[in-house]
């Protein structure tokens, strides 16, 4: 029957034309890495998350805020309460007013959001030649390509091809839409000392920080997939039972 064929064709067409597949980033061709968090049962690689957090803390955090993420959230990376207290305690926050109406400085607590490098957007732009270093809490979801985009940007620096002008104070990046990026190459081999045996290369740094940022933008992903599998299996059984019920019931009619 044609109507069934049409339904099939429409489904296929819709899946082909779905927003994700339809629009590649306007920049260079994105690399496609295989990530631990991909797939129906994918999870975050804990050691990679911890290394990625180290890269963020020592490099990215100099310019990029992550104001939706709290130190307490770091339990998900495998840190215990003492370690988190120690991490938060390294930062100084302005709090107040106290009983006398004055603002005061205190060290950070697990209940504080990640300390932002600048007081506000204006200060961030002023310090960076007018370019705003975007907040990283949701960056993976806010860019076409997600983690591959982050990795691509961090490893995409190079010399501009012949005939391309790079303005003063800007840089050439193969992945950046338009290929001109304000951020200077942030990573160099050996720049960050890892506590484990992971290679201390730009490539590894980029992978780790992309993993960390994916977690930051989607912290409940593992729980979500777990519940999803349960919900799917329940519905599958339920729908199967309903199919049998329906079939038996209607069989009596003919």
């Amino acid at each position: 029957m044609t109507i069934k064929k049409l339904a099939l064709v429409t489904c296929v067409a819709l899946s082909v034309l779905s927003p994700l597949s339809a629009r590649a980033a306007e920049g260079g061709h994105l690399p496609k890495l295989s990530w631990s968090f991909e797939g129906f049962a994918g999870t975050y690689d804990r050691p990679s998350l911890q290394r990625g957090f180290k890269v963020y803390r020592e490099v990215c955090a100099a310019c990029h805020s992550m104001d939706k993420v709290y130190y307490r959230d770091l339990t998900a990376l495998g840190y215990n309460e003492e370690q988190i207290k120690a991490v938060a305690g390294e930062y100084t926050f302005i709090d107040g007013p106290n009983d006398e109406g004055d603002m005061f400085e205190r060290s950070g607590r697990p209940s504080d959001p990640f300390k932002a490098p600048y007081a506000n957007r204006e200060q961030a732009m002023y310090a960076n030649n007018g370019a705003y270093p975007p907040d990283m809490s949701l960056l993976v979801k806010a860019r076409h390509g997600g983690a591959n985009y982050i990795y691509g940007i961090l490893t995409g620096y190079g010399h501009a091809p012949e005939g391309h002008e790079v303005p003063e104070g800007k840089h050439w990046n193969a992945i950046m839409p338009g290929h001109i990026i304000a951020m200077a190459p942030p990573l160099q081999d050996g720049q960050i000392t890892y506590d484990d045996n992971a290679p201390q290369t730009v490539d590894q740094y980029a992978k780790d920080v992309a993993t960390f940022l994916t977690w930051a933008s989607e912290p409940h992903m593992e729980e979500r997939k777990r519940i999803g599998i349960t919900a799917f299996l329940f519905l599958l059984v339920f729908t199967g039972v309903m199919y049998t019920v329906k079939k038996k019931l209607w069989a009596k009619l003919h």
């Binding site: 109507i3 034309l17 927003p19 949701l138 806010a142 309903m242």
Partner: protein, 494 residues
């Protein structure tokens, strides 16, 4: 309601309540023994599925509203708080966000079902119109909900869509200011959108009630499109259709669960995760997928109505006059037009085509500036491109209201109308193609050569031709296949 026959109940409590307020009798009559055609296919599941989605949206939405802050400074952060810190917040939000898409999927299939099987025809015209009203309310609700997370995409979509109203002469700007609560999208916009986004679902619920009421007066249509003749043609709604609907719902929910839990952001553009900034315009502003076909129609109208296009439209009206007016119209202006239309249908269509091409080309800008084809009076544009686009876009939805009077063919189901069947299937494909055109950038090209704009314009042309020319013409000229005597007989034969 309730004045009819009451049912007998064994349970004394049920019986006691039913004597005083016959809700159990009502449910028994409308959902228990309600006679329903026995030959439904799975397309008839989508009304029930849409109902479940509406309830899902209302319940998840009410809980989300408990945690959401409708203020320009806090809205984006409060949504992120729901995603990160509220217990099960991420799940509620993803259920709600993707639920909107799945609600529209169910409703689009439901609408297509109604068109394909002629469910809008007598005596179900009002039932159909109530459905179109539900669809319009859904669009308004979804659009306002899109703005609430206060993202770049939501805020700018509100700017673009409210901008449509500025195309209306004289009062347009006032209407936009009223909608936004100011001159641009800001806190007052967010507040009124939140208020209306909470209100409209309950209005939808009320209209759904009327929709179902009207359905239970006329009874359901069926794939054969013929009326129920005897009790042999029907089955009690329960258990036959309650069970069949539950099975169909299960299949639908399986797909919904896959998207919600494994690809929750598949329908969301990355700019949905950047906080709204009125100073930075995103490079592509696209509405949600369910609006894309209408967005393509809006953008397809890159030309206004100048004297050439106007003449072309007049010629088409004359061609259509005998089809609308009927063969018996002999007197008056209408009679004259009908006579002209009958006599010169083909030449007039050719004239219409030529004038349309002239009018169109005279409004295409060359890359070097100036019109591609310079003609006298071509600059005299009565309705400019922007207003024409807005009128076409709203018109394309409003047209649905009039289908019962555009398609007056006595046979309902496309099964017995081969020409209507193909025209309607092509319309469905056209709608998907328009959606694709709406999603891509305005200057995109298919395979790098064919501008999508042209495809969008052709698609728009077919969309309007289907309703305004093909349906009326087929109503008068299509010879239907022989209809079965009764539903029962057709079922037994199969």
């Amino acid at each position: 309601m309730g004045s009819g026959q009451r049912a007998e109940f064994k349970n004394p409590v049920v019986s006691w309540i039913d004597e005083r307020l016959p809700v159990f009798s009502l449910m028994q009559k409308e959902y228990g023994v309600f006679p329903t055609p026995r030959n439904f296919n799975y397309f008839w599941n989508f009304g029930a599925i849409a109902m479940v989605m509406l309830i899902t949206m209302i319940v998840s939405g009410i809980v989300l509203a408990m945690h959401y802050t409708p203020h320009a400074d806090y809205a984006f952060s409060s949504v992120e708080r729901i995603m990160r810190d509220v217990n099960w917040g991420w799940m509620l939000r993803y259920i709600h966000m993707n639920g909107a898409s799945f609600f529209f999927i169910a409703v689009y299939i439901h609408i297509f079902r109604g068109m394909y099987y002629g469910s809008y025809k007598k005596p179900r015209e009002l039932l159909w119109i109530l459905g179109v009203i539900i669809y319009l309310l859904m669009m308004a609700t979804a659009f306002m909900g899109y703005t609430l997370p206060w993202s770049q995409m939501g805020g700018w979509a509100a700017t673009v869509i409210s901008g449509f109203f500025t195309a209306i002469p004289v009062v347009g700007d006032m209407i936009q200011t009223l909608l936004l609560g100011g001159f641009s999208v800001d806190n007052p916009t967010l507040n009124r959108f939140f208020s209306l986004h909470y209100l409209l679902p309950f209005v939808i619920f009320a209209v759904v009630f009327l929709h179902v009421w009207a359905l239970h007066v006329s009874g359901s249509n069926n794939p054969l499109g013929i009326d129920v003749k005897s009790s042999q043609d029907t089955l009690p709604f329960h258990p036959y259709y309650t069970m069949k609907d539950t099975f169909g719902l299960g299949v639908f929910l399986l797909l919904y669960v896959i998207v919600t839990f494994f690809f929750p952001n598949i329908f969301a553009h990355p700019d949905h995760f950047v906080e709204y900034n009125p100073m930075v315009t995103p490079p592509h502003i696209v509405p949600e997928w369910y609006f894309l076909p209408f967005y393509a129609i809006l953008r397809g109208l890159t030309f206004g109505i100048n004297p050439y296009i106007g003449l072309s439209l007049v010629a088409m009206v004359v061609v259509m006059a005998p089809i609308y007016g009927g063969p018996d119209k002999k007197t008056g202006l209408c009679g004259l037009l009908c006579a002209l239309g009958r006599q010169f249908a083909l030449p007039l269509l050719v004239v219409a085509g030529i004038f349309f091409a002239l009018g169109y080309l005279s409004q295409v800008e060359k890359a070097s500036g100036g019109a591609l084809l310079s003609l006298p009076l071509s600059d005299l544009v009565f309705i400019n491109a922007k207003l024409a686009g807005v009128l076409a876009m709203f018109g394309s939805v409003i047209l649905l209201v009039f289908i019962p009077w555009l398609d007056t063919h006595p046979v309902r189901s496309a099964r017995f109308r081969p020409l209507f069947k193909w025209a309607t299937l092509v319309l469905a494909i056209d709608f998907v193609v328009l959606g694709y055109v709406g999603m891509e950038a305005a200057d995109a090209a298919l395979f790098g050569v064919i501008p999508l704009l042209w495809i969008g314009q052709l698609g728009t042309g077919y969309y309007f031709a289907y309703f305004l020319m093909i349906l009326p013409w087929l109503s008068r000229n299509e010879k239907a296949l022989p209809l079965p005597v009764s539903i029962n007989e057709a079922v037994l034969k199969a």
